[in-house]
Symmetry: D2
């Protein structure tokens, strides 16, 4: 884990800026011999892609991925897999006027002070556009984990602004632009339409579940599985909170309520969220993340410029009114990358991952 590289054995090095020539990543450490082609990756990119509904940014990017290396005759060779996505819809003029201003809630002020220089075009390096390569890399991890262990990752929205979203069925997730597990999203659509009209933005909560995770993944004492999950999730743009299992509610539980009992048929609950002592238990990994409202809004706000002078900032251009809407596939990818890295780390020290030594463990799917 170092700046633009994620992972220790399944390593993803990310590059690019929102309005530069291209974005992409290099995946190093992928096991050899897995069938992989661009369509495998493209299908995940398409889930995250902008411009697919009126509730997300209207920037038109095909996000077409090109595999530059690491594949021979349709299979991974164990060498680095470089993925390239050209930026095609840069509109640098949209951003010109705010080059000298620090937009409230954005990274402008911090980048300026850190580096003494800042690419202002579309947020430059701090843009959420840079999650596309992460999603692409996650697609590779997902494929390997699914083929090897049957692991499946599903992210969905459980809260949009002030609206709590009930869980109806996992099957609805792919059927609406919100990744919401409900059949009818009228309320969500109306909420978003009103928000957009008012020139404002809102936050969201996303939940991510991984099923079929092998028992034994995680490296105490500083690289626990939950620690690394929290790392990638809090590192995702706009995330301000991470919970695993019972999360903040566990602070109000008694010990007799919280501890998940074990029977020969499996665990009887999952307050642990699938991780105990920093190591996977074989239960579902269960994560929730809080996403702040988009910082780019058309409501004027108070700020300063690079000379320290007060200015009024209005953010024009094309933006997601709720960055949480497209966050589900990104969060899935991040969780997959962590599990993948730990699967490799586990077998380095312990040999190939062991199957469960007891009967498969019963757990509510979601």
């Amino acid at each position: 884990m170092s700046a633009s590289t994620l992972g220790t054995l399944f390593r993803v090095t990310n590059f690019g800026e929102s309005h530069g020539p291209a974005i992409g990543c290099v995946i190093d450490g992928c096991p050899p011999g897995m069938e992989l082609n661009e369509a495998d990756i493209q299908q995940e990119l398409d889930r995250r892609r902008p411009g697919t509904s009126r509730f997300v940014t209207q920037r038109r990017e095909p996000d077409a991925v090109e595999i530059l290396s690491g594949i021979y005759e349709g299979k991974t060779t164990g060498t680095p897999i470089a993925l390239l996505i050209r930026n095609t819809d840069q509109r640098s003029k949209d951003y010109g006027e705010i080059t000298r201003q620090f937009r409230p809630g954005h990274a402008d002020y911090a980048y300026w002070h850190k580096y003494g220089i800042r690419d202002p075009r579309g947020g430059g390096r701090s843009s959420a556009r840079l999650t596309a390569p992460t999603v692409a890399a996650g697609a590779v991890a997902k494929k390997w984990l699914t083929e090897k262990y049957g692991t499946v990752f599903r992210g969905f929205m459980t809260q949009l602004g002030s609206i709590d979203i009930p869980f109806q069925s996992i099957d609805y997730i792919g059927q609406n632009p919100f990744f919401a597990p409900v059949e009818n999203t009228n309320e969500l659509e109306e909420y978003m339409d009103a928000l957009r009209r008012s020139g404002n933005s809102c936050g969201a909560v996303i939940r991510i579940i991984a099923t079929g995770v092998p028992v034994g993944l995680g490296e105490p004492m500083y690289d626990k599985l939950d620690a690394d999950i929290a790392h990638v999730m809090m590192g995702l743009n706009a995330v301000k909170g991470v919970e695993i299992g019972a999360g903040f509610a566990s602070a109000r539980q008694l010990g007799s309520e919280h501890g998940d009992s074990l029977t020969p048929q499996g665990f009887t609950s999952n307050n642990a969220g699938g991780i105990a002592g920093g190591i996977s238990t074989g239960q579902n990994i269960d994560v929730r993340i809080a996403i702040k409202p988009t910082s780019s809004i058309t409501t004027p706000r108070q700020s300063i410029d690079v000379d320290g002078q007060p200015v009024d900032v209005v953010t024009k251009g094309r933006h997601d009114p709720c960055v949480g809407i497209r966050a589900a596939p990104i969060a899935e990818a991040l969780l997959a990358l962590v599990v993948m890295d730990h699967a490799l780390r586990h077998r380095a020290q312990n040999g190939d991952v062991q199957p469960h030594r007891f009967a498969p463990i019963a757990a509510k799917a979601y």
Copy 2:
């Protein structure tokens, strides 16, 4: 960040088990020339030490630290600082009976499956006792950051089980065994006494504030400052949730509420918790962590043994009825270690950390 080593430039390698001969750590990367002696470290260890009140484990450990290396004539030399703490109050017999059982809520099941072998004495490697070396290392980081930048770290309890604790004054924190920022802790004491009589345990929420953090720390895109904070906090024993700034509440905020405005006199609010785009802004870093109830309780619970047979588990021995009570100094240390590491990383790429380019930024202290 790799298994038992924390950090990339200020690196802490932790070793030991709860009932082995010793615990300790090696700190690599400390800048040379800082005055450092055992008392500097001991005072932080004493804040975390067990046996100091009736609300924590009665294990009697002096936690006396010995500096084995890295100091010459009272100053750091830039070479590894090895710290040794002998275990003196092991009572292995307390734990013998549960060697073959998996205690609910504990790491037993996960360790057994991961390694195929498990040190059952006092939780072995998964014991919270192993946070002592972290606190010792944190003392070194704190000293350097305070001397260099005036950075100060304060952790305190904001919730004990179901009791919300108001913030009265930072000065009260050192005056009660709960690290609670209130003058009168009668309610907390009565709650804990009742809990202990009932053989149960409870959770807690701890908040940690860092003041005087330089602007510009954090390494996008995968080693953001908030990502690394979430990493260490979620990796702390019993933590199930982490929030920065507005945290989960930000999901219900509108963009017009959340974004912290800037004036020539500084930020007008701190929903960001001192971090924007993964980089420190110079405001207070503001973190909250949720701690689950202690898994070791005397209430019998259902589990299985290593043969998969059902058993009733009662955890005897000496335990903290709320591990959150001693968590404040540990969480401070973890935050200090992250800030320290990023201070060094920042100056590697950017040269010595710059002072604020604008007037000092006003912010409520807590």
Copy 3:
């Protein structure tokens, strides 16, 4: 340092295969604010480029580099610099016949056993073509070090096969295709012409000198400067030996001969090769590497195929008859990358690199 990534703070992640769509690298950790454009990099790539004389491979590759990220308005921004070089002269048919054979002296056998799959086109990942991205990254490191400290890197040939090459002047290096520090290269040309006619190949020795290296770079005890130099040099294709300073000759020296004396005017000799205790002394860093003869020759040799059956192997295609001829700019780049990484590591722990505390140290330039 991990598989396809070199360095800890100035990190270069390399990707590509000899006959895939492209090769390239991502540089992470470059300090912000340095002017950088494609010409700065291209000039170094052109020094290494194939097809520039009759003594090197006739593959025609322009090796045109495209900067994909990390630059804004002509300056580095501190974010990853991705460099792309398209392969334009792949002739996969040249290599088809040896897909199932293990060529003596090549990596075929090892790759096959390691990964269970192998890209045979032009050596795939093991091709020396993959040194081009290293040279490109080295150009960035060189530029920063030259501007900051005046450090200069010069590599030249001191032995071609059995011919020892005297040192006449550093100025001749750029005036002949051998990077030889001599005015007249007739003997070298005749040697190579005869070699090519006989279908054979030869080895070489390259010496690399860095002048103007700041004192104090290197991280004992396992990341000493000389250790990291040996790492990159031995990792270069075809290198079988590395010497620093007096090298193997030091084994025959007495202590009274070897130790470099110090005077107020500087060191009186440089047996240390500019590094003592793993840390730079401010003298010239002086390295020599031994390069084995090219493994691709047209002389038939005995080997086996993937079924273990005996075969006669004749390597056709286009090859360098002495890979050492183009090694000088590559070795310069590798040395620059190591020095760059250590310059950043040094200032992380010690603040900005100090100037010499004594009068500049006299040393023979070469």
Copy 4:
């Protein structure tokens, strides 16, 4: 690989100074379930121990190792193994007079400039005494590799000063204080006695052979097996050159001579030294290192002090007249640590190491 930590998956963190309270290391990543006790480690430490013959330093250190963690009921648990060696024969007074002087050939000048502070007692951190923890860690790696793959590491002296030592038999190595593979060491003894009388020191060449190394270890493109071997060897105190296989002689070979042919019965030669393309071939790994003469001699030499004033330096105290004499077990340990790390890295990406797919490969043992 980072400063005081060696390895990426089998990680050794070293601490201590020559005349501080203790030296030692923490081994992180050892596979669980291996039987290990202090005697396993002590036997290797005893091979390196000072004071065992009149040809090495007369410092009397038992180098008794204590295992502080990572073992339960005689077996490794997969958690960090901390090893402690107390220094018992410090004589700080021996070194007092040279505190302000820079001894020629030593690290004094470099340490002083790097850190601005220096522990002068016995060389402090730069002392070869710090190789003891490396040897201890190597003992653990050796044990695992021998039990798992039958890998064996043997180091021996092939040159002492100007004397070339023939190879008679590997069995003689343990029978003389020089680790020389010859029956009669009279010439070596006389050479050393004369050297000591003259107050001088000499260099040496050590060769290290590993047999039974699995095929497929090594991680191109920057963490090749030979690169990592060169890294640890050049990082060993006093080493100025490293060769693998034919080494520098390969520069004078023709391609038709150098490339090792393959037959169904195995390779017919080993110019590669067991490594091709940076990956082990299953042949013996064959390494040679050049060790410079000890810098501590009683012959007066010219130097300067911390004020830049000229001084005459005479090094008193107890020293090895040839540090190469005790280098063989250290170099074995370093090679074992590299092979161990790569064995774990290999199985992370590729699953458990495969046996040879062809008949065992014949090779001369030495």
